[in-house]
Symmetry: C2
Subunit: 126 residues, 2 copies
């Protein structure tokens, strides 16, 4: 299944890139001002995710946030998102924390994925 270059995808990718934050479907929708359908946004995001173009964080609220992959480790094209994310309780911004962490696992455990979100107040809001 070969990917095609569509307006929708270009717009969404643009927003993700220029925002520098992890964005939820809702944030994107309001940015796009109903230029495209809800389902399309979800599908585009999932496609980006499958293609390794973005990574995903899930909030305490169960909402998915997608961030453009900038400084991600990619050993043999497999992403390794070993960093925390921070969600500001005041301004709502969700950002990647740059520090790479190492995830400790007991003997016999195999890591497949990691989702780490810190909530609080960012430097602009504290």
């Amino acid at each position: 299944m070969k990917r095609r270059r569509t307006q929708s995808q270009a717009k969404i990718l643009n927003i993700l890139k220029s925002s520098g934050s992890a964005l939820s479907h809702e944030m994107l929708q309001s940015e796009l001002e109903a230029e495209m359908d809800r389902a399309t946004i979800y599908r585009v995001l999932n496609r980006f995710y499958d293609d390794g173009l973005v990574h995903k964080v899930v909030g305490d609220d169960g909402i998915q946030y997608f961030a453009y992959c900038a400084g991600c480790d990619k050993p043999n094209n497999k992403h390794n998102h070993n960093h925390f994310h921070f969600k500001c309780l005041k301004c709502g911004n969700v950002e990647c924390l740059q520090d790479k962490i190492q995830i400790p696992l007991p003997k016999g455990y195999v890591l497949k994925d990691f989702n780490g979100l810190i909530s609080g107040y960012c430097n602009r809001c504290s």
Copy 2:
């Protein structure tokens, strides 16, 4: 508002204690075999959470898992759940990892809450 001792709460707390894992609403419901209403389970869990009896983890799937608080730090009665959780992709078990972690934050950031979930295969399933 004073709490009352009800059957429902006792049963749910029992299951949480004896399981030793973090349980979702669905897991509890199947364990309880329709002994009580969906909404009641949710309300009991939220009550436990508010009272600091359990803590909560949110999975990549956005589902809430509740774990009985056993070895939690409680400086002046405020919980401090500075540990990761592990969710096995095969057996579905969600457990607290004992290692206490310290969460790194850039200058000017204030931590309020933390949700960290590692997915993979547990020692019994790997």
